[in-house]
Symmetry: none
Subunit: 227 residues, 2 copies
Amino acid sequence: MTPYRILVTDDEEDLCEILKFNLEAEGYIVDTAHSAEEALTLDLKNYNLIVLDVMMGEISGFKMASIIRGNDLLKHIPIIFLTARDSENDMLTGFNIGGDDYISKPFSIREVQARIKALLRRTSPNEENSKDEILYETLRLDLRSKKCYIDSCEQALTKKEFEILHLLLKNNNQVFSREEILTYVWSDEVYVLDRTIDVNITRLRKKIGIYGKCIVTRQGYGYCFET
Amino acid sequence: MTPYRILVTDDEEDLCEILKFNLEAEGYIVDTAHSAEEALTLDLKNYNLIVLDVMMGEISGFKMASIIRGNDLLKHIPIIFLTARDSENDMLTGFNIGGDDYISKPFSIREVQARIKALLRRTSPNEENSKDEILYETLRLDLRSKKCYIDSCEQALTKKEFEILHLLLKNNNQVFSREEILTYVWSDEVYVLDRTIDVNITRLRKKIGIYGKCIVTRQGYGYCFET
DNA sequence: AATTTTTGTTACAATAGTATGACAAAGATA
DNA sequence: TATCTTTGTCATACTATTGTAACAAAAATT
């Protein structure tokens, strides 16, 4: 079982360290950022949960949450707000933006731990991600073995091909730009031309036979798996 | 869309009524029970969320939560604890049993509403969240697939056409100057004549049939989608 | 009504976007 | 190391989309 990754974003460095220490003791992998700007340079899609201080430098925690909720690849990530102010309006704002929990300072570390655990129990592997396969007609993606089957016959896909298909199929009928596909399928450090995606799409289409037609090109937009 | 059903279990009848009243105002269907024993006579699997007072008669809220979590048919139902005691140990117990949230009395109704909403958003994902579309009579723009439908029939639009229509429809009855349309639809670096918009408007009007008439020219101002 | 301004339409050209084969580089495996 | 697989890049052909010019039509102005 791969451990949960948590991002803690707070301008108080001491607080970040305390949280990091205590959460790592629980078995999580914890990264910290001291401003929203810094956090946004990270590969947010890697995190299972994001802790956000409400009051931070230029970009507030609320603003950052809006950015996350506005991004299709990130919108599902649970967010917990931390705040020094104990105002009801603030709290309601936090929930309205799409926050999952809201904790006022000073808080007990144990409370934060408990709330994080409860939220992860809800959001991560248990229910939603426990889907270990994606089905569309006779096309089946086994997410555990990373294999693709058509009519129960395995169609060998390479890693990139599998991940592109996974992204498109999981969000069928949604158009993904080349840039989005790049951020999802390729790691951050690697820079490849977006034409590379065309080539991979071509290869993928060939391998999945009749379902190749389902991956449609939306000129000017990108690609989409249409059902 | 079938509404969410919530069960409120608390031995204070007044409190139950206040919660029932305010939650029903939000569109939920709310049942109340005044003891765990009473709650257990109900068909719990019908509820999308259960609110439990910790301190109640014979069977405590914690005990009842354990029963729910121990039943395969019920274990997925989100639970929010209410408590008069503001003790950290109690709270940790609540989360450990498998509670999803824990609210200390006295609480604000708005906070309870917000937390219930946030939890339901997580646990009972409705289609509404993923449905990004703009509707006007039988004209429908699907923003995820970037497709335009009239009477459920797709009308193929090019990217520019789609984006112009999107802008106008989203802000219907507002006039947009050619310059405004240019800044919204065209990227910054590109410089095109504003007559280009006329041409695109023409093409768009043709493609969207009867709705073509809704895109009206406001001479001297620009274009507007009138409803 | 005549003139000027603004907008609509068409046809065509220019451009941007895409598919694909071939090859090379990088990585994995034996 | 040798071999095979995966992946990225390039070159090229091809296509859809888009921009522009030219002119017609409509609206506004005189």
